[in-house]
């Protein structure tokens, strides 16, 4: 279900452009609203959430899709933690659906998916590794890097169980917005993938905006 936000960018308390191949790792308070904008279209935002007070509690893809009995994320989806609690809720979305099955690209999985000699190509998981290494104050390490959300990505599954990475449904300026139900840490990799259509073979910037709750 498409739903536009009533929040205005000029009222945001925080705005940041995140280039492709870079990361965003910041806290968002309970009640605040975070928007991720696909500035130029066809980008993927590989995203993880942690309870800021207990990082062992984190976004759980399997609990989230099982709770809503649907594999796609969109307006109204409650993002569920490993402890079965609502971490955030998607309150606006101009894309239609987002993936949480496909996981993030990694240099290691790229060797399997494309070629062993492509191991040097930049990947989301390397951005996350740098993010956790440079932000030790959050206490997040590789063991906390789990099954993520791919905002703006289109990974359809058919009735026979085939799963594909298709060209995205997103476009320039489309966005997804979430209201936090607890204090969270938000870890995003702006996907640098050049081997499949998830970034349209042309990775582009994201913009992150945060508002204080109404």
């Amino acid at each position: 279900m498409l739903k536009e936000s009533t929040l205005r960018p000029e009222h945001a308390i925080f705005r940041r452009i995140v280039g492709a191949g870079d990361y965003f790792f910041e806290p968002v308070k309970s009640g605040q609203v975070i928007r991720i904008v696909d500035v130029e279209g066809n980008q993927a935002a590989d995203t993880l959430f942690y309870n800021a007070d207990d990082i062992a509690e984190r976004y759980s893809a399997v609990d989230t899709i099982r709770a809503q009995k649907n594999i796609y994320l969109g307006t109204g989806t409650k993002l569920i933690s490993t402890e079965g609690r609502v971490m955030l809720e998607i309150v606006a979305d101009t894309v239609g659906r987002h993936d949480t099955l496909g996981g993030a690209c990694a240099t290691e999985s790229n060797t399997v998916r494309y070629d062993l000699e492509r191991r040097h190509m930049h990947a989301c998981r390397d951005s996350w590794m740098l993010a956790v290494a440079l932000n030790e104050r959050y206490g997040v390490t590789k063991r906390d890097i789990t099954h993520n959300i791919n905002f703006f990505m289109n990974v359809p599954v058919d009735q026979t169980g085939r799963l594909d990475f298709d060209d995205g449904l997103s476009g320039p300026g489309k966005y997804v917005e979430m209201r936090a139900a607890m204090d969270v840490l938000v870890l995003i990799s702006n996907c640098p993938q050049l081997n499949n259509p998830c970034s349209g073979y042309n990775p582009t910037p994201l913009e992150i905006l945060v508002w204080n709750g109404p």
Binding site: A56, G102, G103, S109, V112, Q159, G161
Partner: protein
């Protein structure tokens, strides 16, 4: 040649290290069973079964014969060499204490001793803690014998009674692997009584892998995955 055989009752858990080149055969003795499983490299517990990589590398939403179970490091922990079930779930997670209590009522050890209603999440935590693993190490697990399919809109449907009595699935381990498993109910199983289905476990030596091996040839991705395993086994000093 069988090395060890045992039966695990429904709602139980166990863990062990499978050596490379060995088979693990699971048989759903009565049908409608479920085996939750997580896999780790015992030499580097940070390397672990990765459901999204496993699915996207093989363009599939479920697991069956010919599929490989990938770690997050691009290596194959195990491959599925035989399967007469046809569909195993890896996207639904596992049941937790609250779910079991809401659906089937609480039944503690104090009340029922070993016939208590165990849940999959606690089962994984108990087995994982024996190796230093904790809440931060839980990942999306496999649910062998359980089928959850989707319709054209992405709505999920649990297939009740999917696995038939005597159905089995056989894993061949391609690396030494720590196996955490439980026989607790699938989290979407809503049958009226707590499902308590026994599973037979058999460990055996695997025959040497041939060049035309079905798992290796089932997709070019898997050929490359086995190439990563070969590098790991041949080049790494301490196996890491």
């Amino acid at each position: 040649m069988s090395i060890y055989q045992t039966n695990l009752g429904g709602g139980k858990h166990w863990s062990f290290i499978m050596r490379r080149g060995h088979l693990l055969k699971l048989t759903d003795i009565e049908g409608s069973g479920n085996v939750g499983m997580l896999l780790y490299n015992p030499q580097n517990l940070l390397e672990r079964y990765n459901a999204p990589d496993t699915l996207k590398c093989q363009h599939t939403f479920f697991l069956t014969a010919g599929n490989c179970l990938y770690s997050d490091m691009g290596r194959i922990l195990a491959s599925i060499v035989a399967d007469d079930v046809g569909w195993h779930d890896t996207v639904c997670g596992t049941c937790n204490r609250e779910m079991v209590e809401q659906r089937w009522g609480a039944l503690s050890y104090q009340q029922a001793l070993n016939d208590w209603k165990q849940n999959g999440k606690d089962a994984f935590l108990v087995e994982g803690a024996k190796y230093g693993l904790g809440r931060r190490d839980n990942a999306a697990n496999i649910n062998f014998f359980s089928k959850v399919s989707v319709d054209g809109q992405g709505n999920m449907r649990f297939a009740t009674g999917h696995s038939r009595p005597g159905n089995s699935v056989t894993l061949r381990f391609e690396m030494d692997t720590l196996v955490l498993l439980h026989t607790c109910p699938h989290p979407l199983d809503e049958t009226p009584d707590y499902p308590r289905h026994p599973i037979a476990i058999e460990i055996a030596e695997a025959p040497p892998m041939e060049d035309d091996d079905h798992c290796k040839q089932s997709a070019p991705e898997n050929t490359r995955g086995f190439a990563n395993n070969a590098i790991f086994h041949q080049c790494s000093v301490a196996g890491h």
